[in-house]
């Protein structure tokens, strides 16, 4: 077992190249292509598993994670307001980022679990998809109140029909309908190449994350502490919920990862439209510049250890 997953090295290469002001840049189309493939692949894998189990048995889990995704922003918001002394819009927007999830972090965790042959409940992509949404709605209400002026139909369009959800959900449905056998012919692209594309994706994420760090200096130490403290807190919530739902150790750890991860695609896009007075630099510095690197470099092993401890203490 390698001490460090090679895909993480691609992330570090991106960080280093950006920090040294290299000319290295991936064309936007490459980033798009790779993220489309990753989203579809995650969906497809999840869909295949869904086909294997009665859907009804998943309903309690689905409801529980939606609830979790709605509560986490409510915890983050007062911290950002009172300790971080942020204005309402900024606090609401950042809270929404941390209540939602990061598909990139999930993909790295899948790779980490695979390398260690740790099993986890295979319907995780479904929970991932569900977790994207509720925090956004809570964030908007936190910023605006239940104002009549909010164009909820626009919000819904932005939230449910963004690229991320459509591809994850589309992949889930296709995997669910086609089943494992049906997907054999497209496996070489979506499954065999998954980690290779993830490496390219992380190279680009490294370049992007380093670019965010430049703004960190201006926003001081609170953001840094929040960007590490909040995922640690959320991971405990996620792990506890996972244990409560009777998930395996791996599943518990994965739910902790999801809880700890912060969105940097769906939520920024939605907030930009719905809470325009929130400063996007603040939330992206936190989620992309701090929490994403922290989670993939240090967080994942911590959350796994946490899940193990929990199951050891409380029994499985």
């Amino acid at each position: 077992m390698a001490v460090i997953d090679p895909i993480i090295l691609f992330f570090l290469l991106g960080l280093a190249a950006s920090a040294m002001r290299s000319e290295l840049r991936l064309p936007a189309a490459v980033y798009d292509f790779v993220s489309i493939l990753l989203l579809l692949a995650i969906g497809l894998k999840g869909g295949v598993e869904l086909a294997r189990q009665p859907f009804g048995s998943l309903l309690p889990q689905m409801l529980a994670v939606v609830l979790m995704g709605s509560m986490l922003p409510l915890v983050a918001f007062p911290v950002l307001r009172l300790i971080g002394r942020m204005n309402r819009a900024d606090a609401a927007s950042i809270a929404a980022h941390y209540g939602s999830v990061s598909v990139g972090t999930y993909a790295v965790a899948v790779s980490w679990f695979d390398a260690r042959q740790i099993d986890f409940e295979a319907h995780m992509p479904l929970l991932l998809t569900l977790l994207e949404v509720p925090a956004i709605l809570v964030g908007i209400v936190l910023a605006r109140g239940l104002s009549r002026e909010t164009r909820w139909s626009d919000v819904a369009h932005e939230v449910f029909l963004g690229k991320g959800i459509v591809l994850l959900l589309g992949g889930l449905l296709i995997g669910w309908i086609a089943g494992e056998d049906g997907l054999v012919s497209i496996k070489p692209l979506f499954i065999d190449l998954f980690k290779g594309f993830l490496a390219i994706f992380l190279l680009e994420m490294g370049l992007i994350a380093a670019a965010q760090l430049g703004t960190l200096r201006r926003h001081g130490v609170f953001l840094l502490l929040f960007g590490i403290g909040m995922p640690l807190f959320s991971s405990v919530v996620g792990a506890a919920l996972g244990w409560g739902l009777g998930l395996s150790v791996g599943g518990t750890a994965m739910l902790a990862v999801l809880a700890a991860s912060a969105s940097y695609i769906a939520v920024p896009a939605a907030m930009r439209i719905s809470v325009p007075d929130a400063n996007p630099t603040l939330s992206l510095t936190a989620s992309l510049g701090i929490t994403f690197p922290f989670n993939i470099l240090l967080g994942i092993p911590i959350y796994y250890a946490l899940a193990q401890q929990l199951h050891a203490w409380l029994g499985s």
């Binding site: 936007a28 992007i208 670019a211 703004t215 695609i265 920024p268 930009r272 439209i273 325009p276 996007p280």
Partner: protein, 101 residues
């Protein structure tokens, strides 16, 4: 220069995320068309290097008559200028088939 072939060319450089809303607004305000190119740049709100979605700019051109141009710039100033990375400028251009705009 100001004969009856003259129209206003309004150019807006702003965040790609606004595309949907802006085009809807422009239509409502009377624009008969628009042209978009992908862009990147920097300004008061920092560097927007187009490496990924949230960080991309678009450059929108709208050719229209004076009144629509006025309405568009006013609307942008009221609704978007305070909260978004945005630059708006306009100039006179001489067009073929002015009835088109």
């Amino acid at each position: 220069m100001s004969n009856d072939h003259t129209r206003k060319l309004v150019t807006i450089i702003t965040e790609a995320a606004l595309e949907h809303s802006l085009l809807r607004d422009f239509k409502r305000l009377g624009a008969k068309g628009h042209t978009i190119t992908e862009a990147r740049g920097s300004g008061h709100r920092g560097v927007r290097s187009a490496g990924w979605e949230s960080n991309s700019n678009i450059r929108i051109e709208v050719i229209c008559n004076e009144a629509v141009a006025q309405a568009i710039t006013q609307h942008l100033q009221d609704q978007y200028y305070a909260n978004y990375a945005m630059v708006v400028y306009s100039s006179d251009v001489s067009v073929l088939r002015p009835d088109k705009f």
